[in-house]
Each structure stands twice: as structure tokens, then as C-alpha cells.
């Protein structure tokens, strides 16, 4: 039997309306003919399989960019429809020209508003609309943008009306989201349905990020400017978009805390020192960049940054305050604004918008409220701050409340019925309303991203920011011949090389290392004591328990117990505070949480496995701290912490990149362990020395000390004898092989410091290495023999059997105190040199030039 080519008709029952772009009343629209033909080549099951492939690929992206350890729960619910949107060459020509025209007009508007305000003095629009806008900040007045480019890049939300007219629904010039989705959607559709692309020569979208990088670079006079992307780095959508753009442009993603202002310049804190920043690609709202320039906003920001911009020593893109162009209150006057600044009629008209502070317009809106959608004038946080608005502004009901209380901060737009397109769902195509966000760059040669972010929604357009997750998207095609070929010099620069490891990453890992070791240390000491209390000390020695407990409390920073002479009546309460209380800053639980906090802040730099391991421990401790307190529960919790932290160390060792950031994790761990040992020895050794009799058979104190530090086994192997004070001191202070000894930890920290790639021109790390060397030398030259005269002369050290020298507890205490201070100072130096750059070593020679 002859098999005919399968030819399905998926659109047989398609219920097209008058506003359908693909099926007008008189049949198939020209641009879609080939697409529909290509889709009809596939059988229904094939189509279903294609959409499934698309969904799977999209879901993987969602997982990939979800937060580590949290799977898809808070990840991106990415939906891409297999039916693309196709724009005709005529439509695209109009859109491209119209977008550039409008972008240039609003660019001029932003500049005017922050300088002479000619448009206001000439009364082209009511002055109170821009002047009351929370995005308008006096502290940004008079600041010039390089090349007069206030909105270097931005977007407009467009709709296509049933009669084919394109309108602008909203301006998105401050920090619009979407470019990464456009680029990614194209890639996904091309992978999952390559046949579709045979129907048309589609203009590529991928070069947009290259153009953007070029345009950013052009904002500085420097030959190879240092560009960073400034983010707050919280929400998943922006997390994906920012990471994507930064990777594609080869620039670093930074948070406000990564930047530092000095002498009217802004620097990026890296472990190699301060790197001057030339251009900041801003993805946070203007009011949050500098707490000095915009006080009372509650953001940390980068203190002094606005003054650096004012001095022309850094360019911020888009310029500070460019959000004034997004003010929905001025939408009504957009066509006038375009006319005023360009001298031409607006190519793309603006959708009707009503402002509620105008009585006539408000009446009109009230009469037609069923067909209107209310929106606040700005989506920014600053609107809520300006009004002291406690609630959210996310739902229509919220905005309704806002409109009642503060009509001057609300606009209304008629509910519109823009064009529709077929959407594939459940094996069928059904019409869905579509909106499009078109992106532009106002570089030397202005350009519009060919296509745009088309999202489909079954409901009306929503107030508030674009939400990717709630709606499906369409790849958007522009015929290649409709796009002017630009002769771009894409120089494949290896920009990755210049991104040094940020101080914040290093610092977070350093602290994670410290907190985990502190938790492990406290947990081990606690359960060792608990065990000792019953099996080692015997009932008569219960009073010996408290001094040891005090030593542990002191070592873990619980100062209020360190000074008590007697044990508290309720030792269970005390023990709970030591182990499980999350509010007690030195408790095991609190330390684990601090480690989680630190690692969570640099989630991009740690492996998902690590995160998972730590999360499990946190969840376990949460459960334990809610359970009824008992000694057994505390003992179990602390044993679990010791083994889980060990597991974490193993997982980290195996799954994390052993780069410089990793070394800081190790340095933190070793330093913490050295300090933990010292804090314990400071209290325990002088006390042991006071009661020490060499001829005693067994010193319970010393054995306990060895067990507390996890060194009992090491001692037995090394000395094969009962515990002698001098030997214990040697093992815990000096042994190069005992992982719990101070010397071991310092030597390892020194080794890690030595591997850091921080040499180069500034060599800032060299001096600190010398200092650690000196510290180790100082430790190794401790007069142990004098401090702890050996009872077995000739075996370990000098001394004569005739006159057994006495141990001087005060001398021991002084020596150890001095040593502890040195190690603590080492922490401060590491912090100054690598993290906060406050130390004189961190001063680059060029930093203070005039």
C-alpha cells in the first residue's frame, strides 16, 4: 500500500476571532502561512511530543536556575509555546522606527527633567505629574550621563489592536526584565522544533547581548573599562536574567556590599585588592543605590556612589532616576512628549490612560470602572515608602485601595482587547491574547532587538511588574530582510580572566568555615563532657565537671558563664543554651544557621550537594529545638552535628571547585579551630597546672582535656604513656601532625594563604603570609620546657631530678593570652587585606593619586 505523506489539519476547529493575527476574517494571514503549513506536516502525536520536549527543556532551565537545594518549588515555571509569533516586514519597520523614536524622546525627557525642565516651564504637561513622582529625586538633579544617554537600554510594552495598529501600553525604561528570556526561548524552540525555522529566514536575536556590552563599554573613555552588573540578588526571575546577561557579556554580578567608595571613585572589593569600576549596569532601583543621597529609603546601597557619578568617575546605566520615564501618570502625554522632543508625530501612539487626580478624568473612570484597569504610577518600592503604604500593591484590590486613599498616585487604562494568536495546549490550538515587550539600545547606532518578548495571557493585562512565571511565552520572529544588517565587530575578548573573586564571596566562605568549625567544636566538647560526667569522672568528681564546662563555655564565647564560681542550678537550661538555642549567638544551632546564612548569600559559588547537606542539618536542628529538652536529646543533637559537619566537609571537598574562594573556606575553618583550641587551653591549662602533681597516677583533668580536643588517641599513639602536663601541652599547641593542635591549624592556614592567586602587581597577600610565618615561629619558640617543666627529665626536655621546677600557672596564662591575641589579630588582618580593604596593606599605590 502506498503511504501518503501525512497531512493533518490542526486548525480545522480553530475558533479564530476578528483580532486573530494568524487567521483574519478572510483566512490565513500571509506571515503565518508557512508556519501553519509546517505544523500541519506533523501528526497530532508528533506535535504533542514536540511540546513535551519544549516543556522538558524549559523545566530543566527552571531547575537549573532555581536556587540550589530548593528544586523547582521556587524556581522558574518556564512555559514556551511551540507556535511562534511572526511579524511582517512592514510591521517590524514601523515598530523599529517607532521604538527608537520614542526611546530618543524619553531619553531627552529624562535629561530635561533633571536639568532645565523646559518641558514643564512650557507647560507641555502638568508639572505636578513628574514632580510628585516618587522616582523623581532631587539628589539626581544636574548629573550628566555620558554621551547624553540617560536610558541607554530599555523596553516598551506594545499591543497590536484588531485594526492592525500598534500601541504602547507602558514604558519600561528603568530596569526592564526579559532579554534573557527572548534569547533563551529562541534557543529552546530551535532545538526542539528546527523544522519550523526552515519556513523563514529569521533575524537572529543572540547578538543583542553583544550590542549591549558594546554600548555599555562606550559609556566610558577607558580602553578596557571594568563593567559590573549591580543587583540586589534576591528574586528568582532577576537571578536568572542577571546571571544570564552577565555571563553573556562577560561581566561580574555584584551587590551593593561588594562596592566601596573612596576618594570619589568606586571600587570592587576583590581578594586581589580594590579594582576600579568604570561602568555600573544597574538592575536595582535608583533610590536604593546610595543611602546618603536618598536617605530614609532603608536600603544599604553603596554610600557615596551618587557623588562618584556626579564627579563623572563612574557611569551608571540606565542613569539614576531614569525611572521618571516609566511614570504612568505621564503616559497620557506621551505623544506630546514625543512631538516636543523629536518634532515629529509619534509613530507608535500610546494606549489611552487616565489620571485619577484630574477630576474630569476620575469621573470618567468612575463611570466606566468595569472596563478599566487601575495601576499605580510606579511599581517601585519607593512609591510605598513615599506614602508610608504598609500593604502590598500586587492585586487589583490593593490598587483599588490605593486609588481611594491616594488617587494622585493612580492611573486607569481601559481594558483592551489586543490581538490574539493560536496557542497549543492539550493537543489543540486555541486563541490567546498576546502582549509584546520590545527592547532597544540607544548606542551610537540605535537598535531594536528583532522580535521581542511575546507573552500570552488568557486574562487582561495585569498591573504591576511583568511576571514571567505566571504566563506563557512565544518566540517572536522578524524576517531577516526587515532588519538592517549592522557591521558589528564582535571581538571575542576573554573577559572572564579579569573577574577576580569578589571579597564578599571569599568572606562568606571564610565565615561559613569558621561557623561550621565553631559548631562542630562546641558540639564535640559538649557531648564529650556529657560522657565524661558519667563514665570518667565518677560520682565523687562531679564538682570537677563545672570548671570544665566553664572552660567550654568560655571557649565558645558564652562569657556570662565563664565567671561563675558555682554551676547554675539548672544545668539543663544552660546546656540547651549551649547547643540548641537559636537565639544564643554562640550556640551550636546558631552557628549552623550563620553558616547557612553565609553560604546562602553566595549560592552561586557552592555546590548543590553542599547546600543540600547543610539544609538537612538545619532542618534536623529545627526539629530538635522544638522537641522537649532532655539531656539525651542534647547529646544526640550534638553527636549528630559532629558527624554531619564532618559529612559536609567531605561533600565540600569532593564537590566544590578548589579555587581561591574555596581556600578561604579552609582558612576560616583552620583559624576557627586554632582559636577554639586556644580559648580552651587558656582556661584549662593554667587550671590543670594549679592542681597538677606529676607523681599523681592519672590526672582526670588532663585526660578530659585530651578528649575535649579530640586528641586522646593522638596522645596515646605519640607518647604511649599516661597524661603528663608538658606532653599534653606540646601535643595540643605544637604538634604538626595533630589536626587539633594550634600549630597544625596555623600551618594549614598558612599553606592555604600561599596558594591564593593574589600575587601579581599588588602582592597584597605576601605580607600577611610573612606575618603568619612569624606567628608560627613565635608559637614554636614558646618556652614549653620552662612553662611546663618535665617530670621525666632527659626524656622530653632539660631539668634535673633533684630540683623539680614548679609550674607557674600565671606564666602559662600570660603566654597563652598573648598567643590568642596574635591569632585574633590575624583574623583582623585577613579581613582588612582581603575583605574590607581597610588596612594599609590593601592600599594600592595608585589609590591616592590626585
Amino acid at each position: 500500500m502506498l503511504q501518503s505523506a501525512s497531512h493533518a489539519d490542526h486548525f480545522h476547529d480553530y475558533a479564530s476571532t476578528e483580532r486573530d493575527e494568524a487567521f483574519a476574517t478572510n483566512g490565513m494571514a500571509a506571515p503565518y502561512r508557512a508556519i501553519i503549513e509546517a505544523l500541519n506536516q506533523s501528526s497530532p502525536s508528533e506535535l504533542r511530543a514536540r511540546q513535551q520536549r519544549l516543556d522538558r527543556a524549559a523545566a530543566e532551565l527552571g531547575i537549573q536556575f532555581a536556587l540550589p537545594g530548593e528544586r523547582n518549588r521556587n524556581g522558574i515555571d518556564w512555559k514556551l509555546d511551540l507556535f511562534p509569533r511572526v511579524l511582517s516586514a512592514e510591521d517590524w519597520d514601523l515598530i523599529a522606527r517607532g521604538v527608537i523614536q520614542r526611546a530618543e524622546a524619553f531619553n531627552a525627557y529624562i535629561s530635561d527633567l533633571y536639568h532645565e525642565q523646559k518641558i514643564l516651564s512650557e507647560r507641555v504637561l502638568p508639572f505636578e505629574l513628574p514632580l510628585c513622582d516618587p522616582a523623581f529625586q532631587r539628589s539626581f538633579s544636574g548629573i550628566d550621563a555620558p554621551g547624553g544617554r540617560y536610558c541607554l537600554t530599555g523596553a516598551f510594552d506594545l499591543i497590536r489592536m484588531p485594526d492592525g495598529e500598534w500601541q504602547v501600553l507602558e514604558n519600561q525604561l528603568a530596569t526592564p526584565i526579559g532579554v534573557s528570556y527572548i534569547l533563551q526561548n529562541r534557543r529552546l524552540l530551535a532545538q526542539c522544533f528546527p523544522e519550523l525555522f526552515a519556513t523563514m529566514d529569521v533575524a537572529p536575536v543572540a547578538s543583542f547581548s553583544t550590542y549591549l556590552a558594546e554600548a555599555l563599554r562606550a559609556q566610558s573613555d577607558s580602553a578596557n573599562p571594568n563593567i559590573v552588573l549591580l543587583t540586589r540578588g534576591e528574586n528568582d526571575q532577576t537571578f536568572f536574567e542577571e546571571g544570564f546577561l552577565a555571563r553573556h557579556m562577560g561581566i561580574a554580578v555584584v551587590r551593593p556590599g561588594d562596592l566601596l567608595v573612596r576618594d570619589s571613585r568606586v571600587y570592587l572589593k576583590t581578594i586581589r585588592g580594590l579594582e576600579r569600576v568604570d561602568i555600573i549596569y544597574r538592575r536595582v532601583e535608583s533610590a536604593s543605590v546610595d543611602p546618603i543621597a536618598t536617605p530614609g529609603t532603608g536600603f544599604t546601597g553603596v554610600p557615596g556612589l551618587v557623588n562618584v557619578v556626579r564627579k563623572g568617575n563612574v557611569a551608571i546605566v540606565n542613569s539614576l532616576g531614569s525611572g521618571v520615564a516609566d511614570n504612568r501618570a505621564i503616559l497620557r502625554y506621551s505623544d506630546r512628549i514625543v512631538g516636543y522632543y523629536t518634532g515629529h508625530r509619534a509613530l507608535l501612539p500610546t494606549a489611552p490612560t487616565y489620571h485619577l487626580s484630574d477630576p474630569d478624568q476620575r469621573d470618567f473612570v468612575a463611570e466606566n470602572h468595569e472596563n478599566m484597569i487601575l495601576k499605580p504610577v510606579q511599581d517601585h518600592e519607593s512609591l510605598r515608602q513615599r506614602l508610608g503604604w504598609k500593604g502590598m500593591l500586587d492585586t487589583p484590590a490593593d490598587v483599588q485601595r490605593l486609588a481611594k486613599r491616594h488617587p494622585e498616585y493612580c492611573v486607569a487604562q481601559p481594558i483592551i482587547a489586543p490581538s490574539q494568536l493560536p496557542r497549543y495546549s492539550g493537543g489543540n490550538f486555541a486563541p490567546h491574547t498576546v502582549f509584546m515587550r520590545a527592547f532597544f539600545i540607544l548606542g551610537d547606532e540605535p537598535m531594536v532587538l528583532p522580535g521581542g518578548l511575546t507573552r500570552q495571557t488568557s486574562k487582561q493585562h495585569k498591573p504591576g511588574r511583568l511576571s514571567i512565571s505566571a504566563e506563557g511565552m512565544k518566540d517572536t520572529w522578524v524576517p531577516a530582510h526587515a532588519v538592517l544588517e549592522r557591521d558589528v565587530q564582535i571581538s571575542p575578548e576573554d573577559t572572564g580572566e579579569r573577574i577576580s573573586i569578589g571579597s564578599r564571596t571569599a568572606e562568606a566562605l571564610y565565615w561559613a568555615g569558621r561557623y561550621l568549625n565553631r559548631a562542630e567544636n562546641t558540639a564535640r566538647q559538649f557531648y564529650t563532657l556529657e560522657n565524661l560526667r558519667w563514665d570518667q569522672l565518677g560520682l565523687m568528681d562531679q564538682k570537677a565537671y563545672w570548671p570544665l564546662m566553664q572552660a567550654v563555655a568560655a571557649a565558645t564565647g558564652q562569657q556570662k558563664f565563664a565567671k561563675r564560681k558555682r554551676p547554675p542550678r539548672d544545668t539543663l537550661k544552660f546546656s540547651t543554651q549551649l547547643v540548641l538555642d537559636p537565639m544564643e549567638s554562640a550556640s551550636v544551632n546558631a552557628c549552623i544557621r550563620s553558616a547557612q546564612y553565609n553560604l546562602g548569600s553566595v549560592r552561586g559559588s557552592i555546590s548543590p550537594e553542599c547546600w543540600q547537606t547543610l539544609r538537612e542539618l538545619v532542618i534536623y536542628l529545627d526539629g530538635q529545638s522544638r522537641a522537649r529538652n532532655s539531656r539525651a536529646c542534647l547529646r544526640e543533637s550534638s553527636e549528630q552535628v559532629v558527624s554531619e559537619v564532618a559529612r559536609f566537609q567531605g561533600v565540600a571537598e569532593r564537590t566544590m571547585l578548589h579555587d581561591d574562594a574555596w581556600q578561604f573556606y579552609r582558612i576560616g575553618g583552620f583559624l576557627e579551630r586554632a582559636l577554639g583550641a586556644l580559648y580552651l587551653l587558656e582556661v584549662a591549662l593554667p587550671r590543670a597546672a594549679e592542681t597538677y602533681r606529676a607523681e599523681d597516677e592519672e590526672s582526670t583533668d588532663l585526660t578530659a582535656l585530651l578528649r575535649l580536643t579530640g586528641s586522646l588517641d593522638a596522645y596515646r599513639r605519640e607518647f604511649r604513656s599516661r597524661a603528663y602536663l608538658d606532653r599534653v601541652a606540646r601535643l595540643l599547641l605544637l604538634s604538626p601532625n595533630n589536626p587539633s593542635s594550634v600549630n597544625f591549624c596555623l600551618r594549614n592556614a598558612r599553606y592555604c594563604l600561599g596558594t591564593l592567586n593574589t600575587t601579581g602587581e599588588r602582592s597584597i597577600g605576601l605580607r600577611i603570609q610573612t606575618e603568619v610565618d612569624a606567628l608560627i615561629a613565635c608559637l614554636e619558640s614558646l618556652p614549653i620546657s620552662r612553662m611546663f617543666p618535665s617530670p621525666v627529665p632527659g626524656l622530653d626536655a632539660g631539668g634535673t631530678p633533684d630540683e623539680p621546677a614548679r609550674v607557674q600557672p600565671d606564666d602559662v596564662r600570660d603566654q597563652l593570652n598573648a598567643l590568642t591575641k596574635e591569632v585574633e589579630a590575624l583574623h583582623e588582618k585577613i579581613e582588612d587585606v582581603f575583605f574590607s580593604h581597610q588596612h594599609v596593606y590593601a592600599r594600592a599605590p595608585t589609590l591616592f593619586e590626585g
Binding site: S121, L131, G142, D263, I292, P303, R310, S836
Partner: protein, 291 residues
């Protein structure tokens, strides 16, 4: 009159601070009423300060301290000559109604001096003070002086009872505060009545060496008063704390919509929250003016 002004601000931190940045507005401005003859800024620890002029015309200095420090001391020294500078009586005689019409004709330039701000909300005054201070036919000058006096008499000067975070509602309720509260209160009343007004920070000579008047208030620290925009463009200074028209004994430092625009020192640092702030202001008349 000629004055030597010394304005010292000193922060002591419980633990060493790092990453300090601060912005200062302690450089007196040049106006028709005063001329700065000499100005000097001393920062300890010694760091370089940069400078710009802000939107309101104030001199702003800023600096960062790139190393650990447990103390910052900023000393602003200035020699300022002040001159008698009062509006013509005919302007003070303008009826309020007419003045409002004049304001309306250039409303967009004056707009921000009529708007509520974070520190000058209009609601508390609308609710708490029902009195109408300005009738259409009132002469603007005397009406302003009456308001100045009303605040002076109605409110108690009680240092330490309020700080910059005390809302206006509370000042109105308790009828007490310090100079910046009275300035904010007066601004709110004026703006509610449609009269454009701005906040002034500066210094005042408390003790007149040539007279035996009682001492004036506000000399130990920065002082604050208000300026009202009069028809014709004159910003007229009124000091409700001292029931006076601002004159030769007032030295003007900065102007703005409220305290936030003129804060003498605003900064951030990293370190322990525990800090001690000390501000010392001295204003001494020199005899040079008689020469």
C-alpha cells in the same frame, strides 16, 4: 557683623569602625545677606574631602576614611560677614491673596516648597491646628510675624524631649520641641496655607556683646529657622524659636525642603552600633566689621 564660626562634630565608636563615608553641609553659603571670607575644613583622621554644589545651592563636602578608626572629628571653621538685608516694606504689605496669585503664575518653580515631605507632612497640621493664620486681605509681612510669634508662645523649647525622628504629630500634641521641630511645624503651616517656604540650617549669635538682652536660643549647636518666598523673589527668614526675623546675627549654612536636605553630617560606617556623637558650635563676633 563679622563672625568666627567653629562647628565641630565628633563621633566616637565603641569598636573600631571601617568603611566610613560621610557627607557634610557645614559650609556657609554666600547670599545677599552674608559673605564667606574664609573657610577651612579639618578632618581627623586626616583624609581628603571632595566638594560639589547641590541643587539647592548648598556646598557639600564628602570624604571616606579607608582604614580602621575609633574616632572621627570634623571641624568646620569659617569667617562670615553678615549684612542687614530685609525686604522692602511695600512687599511686606502685599495682601496674602495677591501673593498667592503671584505664586500661581510661577507655580512650577515653587512647587516643591509647597509639597509635603517626609519630615513636613501636612496632615497633622490640618488636623491638629485649625487656626487660620492667613486671610486673603491680610498683609503678608505682619501675618507671617504673627505666626512666628504664635509658635514661639504656644510651644515650649525643651531640648532633649525630641530628636529628628520625632514626628510632627507628637510635637503638636506635646507642644514642645527644639528649633528644627518649630521650623518643620512652621513649614507645614505655611505650605498648608499655600505659602512657599524652605528650611534653613545655620548658626545664631546667642549673646550680643553690645547689649544686655537675654541670650538667644540655639547657639550651642546648629540652629534652624525658615524662609518664606515673598512676591518679588525675596526669601525672608523667620526664626520661630527666638520670635525674631532672621537678621545679621543669623549665619546661614544651607537651605532645602526639610532637614533631610540640609543635614550637617550624614554618613555610614561598618562596625559596632555603639557610637557617641558630640557637636560643638561656637560663634564669636570679631571687631573687623567696624573698620
Amino acid at each position: 557683623m563679622r563672625f568666627h564660626v567653629t562647628h565641630t562634630t565628633q563621633y566616637e565608636y565603641a569598636a573600631p569602625a571601617s568603611e566610613s563615608f560621610a557627607e557634610l553641609r557645614v559650609w556657609p553659603i554666600d547670599t545677599n545677606g552674608q559673605k564667606v571670607i574664609h573657610r577651612e575644613l579639618v578632618i581627623e583622621p586626616e583624609v581628603r574631602a571632595d566638594h560639589y554644589v547641590d541643587y539647592f545651592g548648598n556646598h557639600v563636602e564628602f570624604f571616606s576614611i579607608p582604614f580602621r578608626h575609633s574616632e572621627v572629628r570634623v571641624k568646620s571653621l569659617a569667617e562670615v560677614e553678615t549684612f542687614p538685608n530685609q525686604p522692602r516694606p511695600s512687599i511686606l504689605g502685599t495682601p496674602v491673596g495677591e501673593a498667592r496669585q503671584i505664586y500661581n503664575s510661577k507655580l512650577f518653580k515653587l512647587f516643591e516648597y509647597l509639597q509635603p515631605t517626609e519630615l513636613v507632612p501636612l496632615m497633622p497640621v490640618r488636623k491638629g491646628i485649625r487656626k487660620c493664620f492667613f486671610h486673603e486681605s491680610d498683609e503678608i509681612g505682619p501675618a507671617l510675624v504673627r505666626l512666628n510669634e504664635w509658635i514661639f508662645k504656644r510651644f515650649d523649647y525643651k531640648p532633649g524631649t525630641t530628636d529628628i525622628s520625632t514626628p510632627l504629630t507628637e510635637v503638636i500634641k506635646n507642644k514642645r520641641g527644639v528649633c528644627q521641630d518649630f521650623a518643620h511645624l512652621m513649614l507645614a503651616i505655611l505650605r498648608n496655607h499655600g505659602l512657599p517656604a524652605r528650611y534653613v540650617s545655620g548658626y545664631i549669635e546667642a549673646f550680643d556683646p553690645e547689649k544686655t538682652d537675654p541670650n538667644l536660643i540655639g547657639a550651642a549647636a546648629s540652629h534652624a529657622w525658615v524662609e518664606v518666598f515673598l512676591p518679588g523673589g525675596f526669601w525672608w527668614g523667620l526664626d520661630p524659636t527666638n520670635n525674631q526675623v532672621a537678621g545679621e546675627r543669623h549665619v546661614k549654612v544651607a537651605v532645602g525642603r526639610d532637614y533631610n536636605d540640609v543635614a550637617p553630617m550624614r554618613g555610614t560606617y561598618k562596625g559596632a552600633l555603639d557610637q557617641r556623637l558630640q557637636v560643638m558650635v561656637s560663634l564669636k563676633r570679631t571687631l573687623a566689621s567696624t573698620l
